[in-house]
Amino acid sequence: MTDNCQLTTANRQLTTMTSETLLIGLAGVLAAAAPVIFAVMGETFSERAGVINLSMNGSILLSAMGGFAVALNTGSLLLGFLAGAGIGALVALVVAFSSITLKQSQVAVGFVLALLTRDLAYFLGNPVMGQPGPRLQSLPLPGLSQLPVLGPLLFKQDLMTYLSFLLIFLAWAFIFRTRPGLMLQGIGERPAAAFVRGANVNRLRYFYTILGGALIGLAGPIYSLSVKAGWKGTISGLDGIGWIALSITIFGGWNPIRAALGAYLFALLQWLGLALQPILPGIPAQVLQVAPFPLMILTLLLVNIGDSEWVERALAAMPERQRRLAEKILRALRAKPPAALGTTFDSE
């Protein structure tokens, strides 16, 4: 009985949702995805060069705290964002140094850094916790923001959201269309071949890992100065974002466009989780918030499952037409990592 009641209220709420509130909600999704996009693009650059930056989760937290603290103390948003980027770059430098120069396991060092930077964020962020601070204002683009539908959706965002749109395109164009981008693919794919073509593989790997780290670091202040303004310590709700971003990178198949789709999908789900909360009061908020995680496992499953033996066997047993279709779907979903990901390179 009660279930029925709830369902009818849900229907009513969904139907009464005007197109205007829907648009505002979707515009919010685009803004909420902005930090994830920065982080995912950063990780994509790093992994394309062959270096997994597993520290992302803590890195985002530390840069969120650091960016907020700097902006609070200097009153300058710009300095806040720069501080975030700097922190991310610094953490990435440690990953690069230990994996490229010292040849230690990228996973081990990255994981330790993920925990360390998280604890650092909470420890150092203690004094600024809960304080009201500056916030990035939205920047409606003159003219464009007046457009029907597209205006409120795309052109009433803040600067970092606009930049996130731009970043997707730039990252894609750089990796697939420019000469250094091709070489970036090369050093992650076959460093020896890049080396004989004149690339200084390890120096480039440093460069892209640090560049990627700076982008990851920007995700932090985008949260603490815009999307979830402020620093609230362990209840900031940011813990876990980095791990999600890491799996979106894989889901994205190291392609910025596909990765961006993943980020938007994730933000959409989170928004739906919140939007559905009044409809499903029996489920605590914490449960709905983790909804993306099983989904993340599912997407990873879909991305990888085409390679497993039993699937091949199952496919072989299917009738011809269904088999071709299933194979096509699995191939479209499959994402192959850069061949030299996680390995070290010696020119000798």
Binding site: S98, V107, F111, P284, M296, I297
Partner: protein
Amino acid sequence: MRNSRWTNLIFQLIAVILALGFTTLVMLIAKAPPLDAFKNIIIGSIGSWTKISDVLISWTPLLLATTGLLITFTAGLWNIGIEGQMMIGAVFSTWVLRLLQESTLPPALILGLAILGGMLGGALWALLTGVLKTFGGVNEIFGGLGLNFVATSINLWLIFGPWKRPGVASMSGTIPFPETLWLPTLPGSRLSLWALGLALISIVLVYFLLRGTYFGLRLKAVGKNAKAAYLLGVPTWQYSLAAFALCGIFAGLAGAMQVLVVYHRLIPSISSGYGYLGLMVAMLVNYQALWAAPVAFFFAALNIGSIQLPVVLKLDSTLSGVLQGTLVLFVLLMQGARQKLGIRN
């Protein structure tokens, strides 16, 4: 090769000094008095028998987690999902207690079943990660992380839903169990020799398992080169799953201990981060069982010692995490530095 033990020791010592230096620097940045903080941690961990027993209470789950992780690391697996495995172990343990607490069964039997239930829960949750990896190609790091969050939500859902306290559900957990269903502790203390004994037996068992048995050698083979191990006749995916299940058993046991000894109920943060900390301990001891117990003790001491920091010095207690993290980081870096210098010589 010559003097490798001494150079090793020197490099580790440098790592410890660097870690202390870095942590001091962090405290200076936070405008905290480093010496006072360190002193507080020491007094807060081994300053009295009560404190030492607190450390031992915290040592138990940490050592159990590390023990399990030694098995998965040997098999070449990064079982990050251990946090969730501990949580589901605690959930299963609680479940058994809830089912049987009204029954006429002797408490000792119920406790035994609750422990077994915890182990089963941990093993099942670990197997889920293992199955995702072996049959779905989902890397155990991502599968495990995802399942950690799922375990958290299951735990929260139970605490706020079906198992909520009469009246209002809260973050303080489910209703505590009657004292008859607590694992016996030393008089006047919260320390249980049962839990301590189980942890010690576990690490000794795993030490011998990995060192002198066919199972240990074959697990090592799978970890170092699964393809070759398969061609040599080792059923590789079965061994991977076995490693997950075994680790899950120890994780689940740790979770059960948290319920039966420490909290006597299910709370939202029942695993208390011991799983992740166990990963750090395992890395610090370079995946060798011999040093796991003392290093785990040290880490537990840091955790307990930093508890009073917020009260005494108005510092966040995550300082212990900062120190632990930097320690592992610098040990890894020093390992790399030593190898690099070794090549040059």
